[in-house]
C-alpha cells in the first residue's frame, strides 16, 4: 500500500540545514492501523506530510498504491490526495464559513461529483460519525469532539483507502478522545488503512503496529502479528512517548 525507501528530507536556510528525515524506510500494508510516535522534532509530521503528498522529498522512492509519486505533477498529486487519501488534523481544520455538510462536501467538489452524488455521500459520511442531524450547523456550534468527527466525515466522504491522522485526539478531552479513537478503529475494521501520529502512548498501544521516529529515522517497530497481538503489541511507544 505504502512504501518509502531511503527517503530523505532536508530543510535548508541560508545558515542551517535540518535533516527532517534521513534514509527513512517504511512499508505499510493495506488495512493496517499504524501508530507513529516519537519526540517533538523527530520528523513525524514531515513523514505524514510526505506520505500525504503535501511535501516533496530530496532523495529516495515513495510508492503509494503501486504508483511512484516521486515526480508527480501538482495536478496528479492533488488528484491522488483527493481520491486515495483522507486527512485528519489535530486542530480539526474545518472551514469556519461552511456548515457541516458544506465542509464534508469540499473534497467531493474537487473530485467532480455531481450534486446528487455529493448529497448522498455527505449524508452517509455524517451518519457514519453520528452527526447527520446537524449538517446545517456551523463548526463553531459544535464541541471539539464533534468537530473532529466532522473532520473524519470529510476524510471519509471520498471513500479513501488511506487515512492520515496527525494527533487526531490532541485537542480533545479523554472521553472525546476515546470516542474518536473508537471511530477510527471502526473505520479501520471496514478496510481503510490508517496511519496515526500521536504522542499518546495509550492510543498508540491500540494500533496494530507502532513505529517510533527518532532523528528522522524509524528507530524500531513491532511487526504486525495478525489479530492476536492487537492491543498487546510490544511497543516502544511507552518508553519514547512524550506527553
Amino acid at each position: 500500500m505504502l512504501s518509502m525507501k531511503n527517503i530523505s528530507k532536508v530543510f535548508k536556510t541560508d545558515l542551517v540545514e535540518t535533516h527532517a528525515l534521513r534514509d527513512f524506510n517504511l512499508a505499510v500494508n493495506e488495512g493496517e492501523f499504524v501508530a507513529v510516535t516519537g519526540p517533538s522534532g523527530s520528523g513525524k509530521t514531515t513523514f505524514l506530510n510526505i506520505a500525504g503528498l503535501l511535501e516533496g522529498f530530496n532523495h529516495g522512492d515513495y510508492f503509494l498504491d503501486g504508483v511512484n509519486i516521486s515526480n508527480l505533477s501538482d495536478n496528479k498529486s492533488a488528484a491522488i490526495r483527493n481520491e486515495k487519501i483522507g486527512f485528519i488534523f489535530q486542530g480539526f481544520n474545518l472551514i469556519s464559513d461552511l456548515n457541516l455538510a458544506e465542509n464534508v462536501e469540499v473534497p467531493l467538489r474537487y473530485r467532480g461529483f455531481n450534486a446528487k452524488e455529493r448529497k448522498v455521500r455527505v449524508e452517509r459520511a455524517l451518519e457514519q460519525v453520528g452527526l447527520a442531524a446537524r449538517m446545517k450547523h456551523l463548526p463553531t456550534q459544535l464541541s471539539g469532539g464533534q468537530q473532529q468527527r466532522v473532520a473524519i466525515a470529510r476524510a471519509l466522504a471520498g471513500e479513501p483507502r488511506f487515512l492520515l491522522a496527525d494527533e487526531p485526539t490532541g485537542n480533545l478531552d479523554s472521553l472525546m478522545a476515546r470516542q474518536v479513537m473508537e471511530l477510527l478503529e471502526d473505520i479501520n475494521k471496514a478496510g481503510t488503512t490508517i496511519i496515526m501520529v500521536t504522542h499518546d502512548a495509550d492510543l498508540a498501544r491500540r494500533a496494530q503496529r507502532n513505529i517510533q521516529i527518532v532523528d528522522g529515522q524509524v528507530c524500531d517497530f513491532s511487526m504486525y502479528q495478525a489479530g492476536e497481538n492487537r492491543g498487546k503489541t510490544q511497543s516502544i511507544a511507552d518508553a519514547a512517548s512524550v506527553a
Partner: protein
Amino acid sequence: MFFYYLDLAWRSIKKTPFLSLLMVLAISIGIGITITTLNVYKMASINPAGERSSQLFALRLMSQDNDTWERLTPQITYQDAYNLRKSTIPVRQTAMFRTGLAVQTEDPNFSPILEGVRVIDSDFFGLFEVPFVYGGPWDKQVDSEGGYKVVISEEINQKAFGGVNSVGKSILLNRKPYQVVGVTAQWNPSPKYYDVNNGAFNDSEQIFVPFSLAPIEEYESWGNNNSWRHEDIRTYSDKLASEMHWNQYWVELDTPAKQQEYQEWLSRYVEQQQRLGRFKHPEAHGDISDVDKWLKEHNVVPEDNKVLVGLSVLFLVVCLVNMLGLLLAKFLKRAPEVGVRRAIGASRLQIFSQHIVEVGVIGFCGGALGLLWAWGALYVLSSKFDLEQSLAQLDQSMWLIAPMIAVSAAIIAGLYPAWRICSTNPSIYLKSQ
C-alpha cells in the same frame, strides 16, 4: 466549479465587507474616471456619417493670393459657393452658412425667440439624411429662383404650433412670413461635422431656410468670416462679391469615378477663375475631403483628449496597485483555509481559479459602481462645467466596456496575489491552525 467559486467569492466578500468595499471603491474610482474620459473621447471620435462617410465630401478652395494663408481653410467665398452650385456632377450638393433669425408666429401670445438658422440648399436634407416628421425639403426650384420656404425642427414645431402638423402654415422669421414645408425629427449629429468651423460639438440648428434667399434677405453670418486681404465691404452685395471666406460647401459623390470627375471639374474651375484674375497662389487648387478625413484634418478630437484618456488609465493603474496590496493581505490571511483545501484535494490551479473568480467578482462590482461614478461625473461636467450635451451622454457601449475593463484590470491585479496563495506550502498551515 465556476458557480462554486462564485459562491465562495460571495461568501468571502460578505466575510470581509469593509476590505471588499475598499477594493470595490478603489477600482470603481479608477474605472469611473477612465470611463468618463473614454466616453468623452469616444463621443468626440464618432463619425456620424456612418457608412456614407466615404461619399460625402467637404469642399475647399485655395482662392487666396500668394503671401497670405498657406493652407486651405474650411470655408469658401460666397461667389465660389454660388458658382459651384452649377456643377451637375454631384448626386447632391449644398452651399450653406449659419445665421440667426427672430422667430414669431401669428399667435400674439407666442414670445419671439432668437434662433440659430442654417441657410442651405434643398439637397442638404438628403445629403445629411435629415429625418422628417412632417413634409420634406422645399422644391429644387426654390434653390434657383428663391422662395420663402422653411423647414423647422420638431422642437420649434412644438413651441410654435403645439406639435401639430404645421406644413403649409406660416412662421415669421425676422417678421417675414415663411411657409413651413417640413418638420424634421430629432437630428443632432455629433460631431456636427457639416460645420466644424462653428463649434464641432454645438447642437444642430432648428430652422433651415433657402440659400437662394441670402442675397434678398441679407442673412448675417453667425460663423467665422475670414478675409485674407483688406476689402472695403460696406453693403451685403459687397460681402457677396468679396474674397471673404464664410460659406461651407458639401457634395455627395457616390462612386470613385464621380469623385475623380468632380475633382477634374474643380481643377477646371480653378483654372477658369485664374483666367479671370483670381486664385493667384501658385498652389491654388480645389480639394474634397470625405467625412473621416475632414474630422481628422480639423482636429475635431483634440490631442488633449487622448492625453486625458492616458492619464486616467494611469490613475486606474494606481488604483489597481492599491487593490493588489489589499488583495494580497486578504488572500494571505486565508492561507490556513487554502492549506486545508489543498490537503483534501484542491490543485494549485483550482485554488488559483477560485481566487481569480473572486477578484473578477470584485472587479465586476467595481465596474458597475464605476459606471455610476462616470454617469455622475458626466452629469456634473455637463451641468456645471459646460461640457457639450452630445459629449456628456454615456455611450451604450460603456455598459459593456466598463465591466470588461474592470474585470480584466482586477484580474491582472489579482494574478500575483492568487499565484502567491496557490503557491504556499499547505503543510505549514495545517499544523498551526
